[in-house]
Symmetry: none
Subunit: 226 residues, 2 copies
DNA sequence: GGGGGCCGTAAAGAACGCGTCAACGGTGCG
DNA sequence: CGCACCGTTGACGCGTTCTTTACGGCCCCC
């Protein structure tokens, strides 16, 4: 899921936004000042910035300009100021949207989805990288080293299910349901065969699995690097 | 300068928006109903849509969905409704921004600039070039070497869908929906025939595809050079 | 030490998906 | 009216993928 950088000097608002965002599955970074925000964004580029205008220190518009110097990450401005001139200044500085407090959380989340949707249009796909192979889930491409590997639909289904829950056990029944359909429950032989094929294509040593681990009697697990 | 499609049933508001937009150098198209808006957008694609929600006939959300079926043009919704659920519905349907009436003209213009800026920033080049052929998506012209190639409407639809997502897998169902319509789901034989025709016209060696790649069981992929 | 699960591997045939071709019917235009 | 073009449809061959079965190894528990 996406990462959202929340910039606000009031701890209560930061907390409220954080809670709401995390509850919806976003990863959240926090910053209390403009300087912090710029540093955080540089070190760990977020997918979206929620920016309060009334910051101590450097102004919100400066933060917008500081971000726009090197990134096109969507910026949604939050502010108590209703003055049109403030809105115009922030939007023309490069903000994508401007929401006045108090705001409804549902509306803010909808605006956030809208901003992310746009950014996601030609943004990079969710890519899973390991030391040996790489899976581009959006484009459905798999590469090991420099060469492209073809996965069959079933192999994609298995890889996707496992990779989407890194480090976690995925039950055999879950895999069968998601890949073959709900009427498949006990065909674990399918899993054995196709997991073997997947390993043959993606593992450095197929007979000694390092990424797609068997949990006997239970299921399989994708183990990312370190 | 950019073209803005203004959709509102009240002549006075249409006029007011038109005047303000023209004064700022935009070209303006007008529509009084949702049907008109969809037709106008199709015949003469605008760079931005200003859409009033309170339309007679088909609803504003329907207009948004109708547009989003084939274009990513920025849509700014104007509405008297302050209800959060209305905003959420419009934004999640694909609108880019939501402004409640009465609004300040300066703010609206700033939001419009923000939306256009985004659209321009990641606006894809309407011309796709490969080592062997060239597609001008705007002008609907295809050339191989020096000579012009005629593509049928279906071939254009397929080529456009694929080329608009370079390197990405486009699912069979997606192609069928976008080119033939949502009621087509399993007619993969259509795809086989028409993709073959497309390759015959655009591929250097139609029997050994280099640009329009088949991903068995899943879909097709446009592979750009290098 | 023996036995039963459970797993990985291999190999077979069956089923599927794809590309190709040819024929048919509709439509627009000269 | 006839022609050209386009989309639809069905049939066929081919390669790939999936299913199915069989066998051998490993581990744990009895």
């Amino acid at each position: 899921m996406s990462t959202v950088l929340v910039v606000d000097d009031e701890p209560r608002i930061r907390k409220a936004l954080q809670v709401n965002l995390v509850a919806r599955g976003y990863t959240v970074s926090l910053a209390a000042t403009g300087e912090e925000a710029l540093r955080s964004a540089r070190e760990e580029p977020p997918d979206l910035v929620l920016l309060d205008l009334g910051l101590p220190g450097i102004s919100g518009v400066d933060v917008i300009e500081g971000l726009r110097g090197w990134t096109e990450v969507p910026i949604i401005v939050l502010s108590v100021r209703e003055q049109e001139s403030d809105k115009v200044a922030a939007l023309d500085a490069g903000a994508d949207d401007y929401v006045t407090k108090p705001f409804g959380m549902d509306e803010l989340m909808a605006r956030l989805r809208a901003a992310l949707r746009r950014g996601g249009a030609d943004g990079p796909d969710p890519v899973v990288r390991t030391g040996h192979f790489e899976l581009d889930l959006g484009a459905k491409r798999a590469t090991v080293g420099d060469e492209e590997i073809r996965l069959t639909p079933i192999e994609w289904g298995l890889a996707e299910q496992l990779v989407r829950h890194p480090g976690r056990l995925v039950a055999q029944r879950t895999l069968l349901h998601e890949v073959w359909g709900p009427q498949y429950d006990r065909e674990t032989n399918y899993l054995r065969v196709h997991i073997a094929n997947l390993r043959r294509k993606l593992e450095p040593e197929p007979s000694r699995p390092r990424y797609f681990i068997t949990e006997p009697g239970m299921g399989y697990r994708f183990e990312p690097d370190h």
